[in-house]
Point group: C2
Chain length 405, copies 2
């Protein structure tokens, strides 16, 4: 298996063509046929053939030209194509410890509705999770004035060790059991294609479809939420590893026999930069008043409190070390750091990034670009929707071939 393309029957070939043309249109936003041909290296004749298929399937649409044609060159004007938003309605759901956030987007990625469903508690049984997801989904549809039957794909994001290829949960902080076939359970409860993945991969997918990595085929996303996550994109696809639980950045070891992690092992990065780790430090270090609020601790550090500052300092140094290791291993062209406000201040600050750069193997070539991307609250849900969107696109286009035959 030395990495050659699979041989393709005529039908497969046309399907590939459709996928590729559709992807080009989505990526560009709006693009004329001639530019699709240029970009995909496919002849204009084929582009015409494929786009007419996609048009009659309702997946894309022509943009009616605006009156404003000042400064136009002569010649037949190009007509731009775009994804037809109305083609599909997609839902993305993100489970955090406090609530289930739902976002509804159309096939163009435009937000159609948002919805927030509070959780009774942070941990629940698989069955409760299923009913919760269904209720949240129903609530979101209601709020947006849509019927649940209009939704053609659902994506779910939860924290933990998720095997997305098998829709299997090895472990999640939101579930009271390990090894749950959550995907099967939810697929059964749902009348539409269902996809799930862990936090970091969601963000990676969102960055790839809508965000900073729109034209990048190899990049890495680091996320800090409760834990520390990583999404790896290689050759345009999310890398998941054999058992689907690779990219465990938060549990790479940064200190031999180091601090105890909630995973039970010692020296994990998460045990130095996670919320609970910082608070633990603060309390151990004999502060007079026991601390249980991270933002208060952070405020004290900013105010100059030496003890508090040293806690964040060490976290930053450990994080820099871990990130440098990832860069040394992958030599990516782009690293995207993503997380909440405070994270940005103490983990994504310029001093930490400087430290990362000085810990990367030095060559006379530009260092990988490290971009910091602050998202709104809906980032995670939008990522979940992005996953579902990709799945629905592929399915639809595949079926399109089957229909024709």
């Amino acid at each position: 298996m030395a990495g050659h393309q699979r041989i393709s029957t005529a039908n497969d070939q046309r399907e590939n063509g459709r996928q590729q043309v559709f992807e080009a249109i989505r990526q560009a936003g709006r693009i004329a046929r001639i530019d699709i041909a240029r970009e995909t290296q496919v002849s204009p004749a084929t582009v015409t053939a494929i786009t007419s298929e996609l048009l009659s399937a309702g997946l894309i649409e022509e943009i009616t030209p605006e009156g404003d044609r000042t400064g136009a060159k002569r010649g037949r004007p190009r007509v731009a194509l775009k994804v037809r938003g109305a083609a599909h309605l997609i839902a993305g759901i993100k489970i955090s410890d406090r609530s289930a956030t739902v976002i509804l987007v159309d096939f163009e990625g435009q937000t159609v509705g948002e919805y927030d469903h509070e959780l009774p508690g942070p941990v629940m049984s698989p069955e409760e999770m299923v009913s919760l997801v269904m209720r949240a989904l129903g609530g979101a549809c209601n709020a947006a004035g849509r019927d649940i039957s209009e939704v053609s794909g659902v994506g779910l994001g939860i924290a933990g060790l998720i095997d997305a290829t098998r829709n299997f949960v090895h472990w999640s902080p939101s579930l009271d059991q390990r090894n749950v076939e959550l995907g099967r359970m939810l697929s059964d409860a749902m009348p539409v294609p269902f996809y799930m993945d862990n936090d970091a991969n969601l963000v990676a997918k969102a960055e790839q479809l809508f965000g900073e990595a729109r034209n990048v085929s190899d990049f890495i996303v680091i996320t800090i939420e409760q834990g520390v996550g990583m999404g790896i994109v290689i050759d345009g696809r999310i890398y998941r590893g054999e058992r689907g639980c690779g990219a465990e950045f938060g549990h790479t070891k940064v200190q031999l026999d180091g601090a105890l992690c909630r995973c039970g092992q010692r020296g994990c990065l998460e045990a130095y930069v996670g919320d609970y780790a910082l608070l633990r430090e603060a309390n151990i270090r004999g502060s007079a008043q026991p601390e249980d609020d991270l933002s208060a601790l952070y405020a004290r550090a900013k105010a100059g409190d030496a003890m508090a500052r040293s806690i964040f300092d060490r976290a930053g140094r450990m994080f820099a070390m871990g990130l440098a290791n990832v860069i040394n291993i992958f030599d990516p062209s782009l690293v995207i750091l993503s997380g909440e406000q405070m994270t940005f201040d103490f983990l994504y600050g310029s001093d930490v990034l400087e430290r990362v750069k000085s810990s990367v193997v030095q060559v006379d070539a530009p260092l990988p670009e490290i971009r910091v991307h602050k998202w709104g609250d809906l980032m995670w849900a939008k990522g979940a929707a992005a996953c579902a969107m990709e799945g629905v696109s592929e399915l639809t286009i595949r079926n399109l071939g089957a229909d024709a035959a």
Copy 2:
């Protein structure tokens, strides 16, 4: 670029077919057409067409059936195909600090000749390197009774930061300059296709073509020579990163502000497990007689010397930590550890491997297989030959298409 196959013109498609069929034949060693069809999912008709092309190009050959057909089923007997060794002669060259090892192999991978060329010194100028390689190549051909003009591809392996896609040397311990266009220089000096890569990728390629990873599409190779190297194979292809210098396992940090590495940074894995690091430790730790022979130090450790033992012990713990990090990130199905005799005893021992396993994120799924593969001296050179072989195969098959047109 969401990872779809490139659309393929008719000619491309046939080329893919040829590549795939040829690869199947090489992988199997000897295989009948009907089995190729089964394995590659291509119809027998197409297999017949493609194999007849490859046959008439002289790249493969039919195996004349042996007399022994006892226990044969009835029906027309299958005739096996194999790669035709005589089709090409390939050279692999490995530069170490003491010598240039050359191996000549035929297109089947069978060794045709070996040759060792001693170096005047471990470090040289790019020009000296070129002339050295050419002399070593000439010497090998001479010794094997072949003419240098018969060689149809040359692969070179050297240590350091190599950008194999651009045949560029960022840095190598064998060269007295950084940033050398060694590939261009050698291509100019050589009348045949030339390929180069760093140590670890050579081994990965050798494992993939001839070794333990023959049917595995995702695996990781760790090598210990002077430094510590890693080769990453994802989806059948070597992953190289953006600047071609990823997989720098030896310079991932295992200790914050730790031991000084020869790369100038602190806390690199190499600074704990490399030869020089171990000797440095031995001398610092106030042993009576200064130590400069690693095997002597190792002997003392085995004999029970507590100081010596603690040195190797720490190296083992650090190595385990680094390896566990790699596994946590990649979740590969297979890890191959490769190196010299002593390495096996103190880094690849069962206690270290146990430690690795206990530092990997725990899920209820089988751990990645860690296989230890001890190679002979010629491993590196054979890997270089494997790289060249892959290149020559692809080129030949591509040109085959151009000839027909």
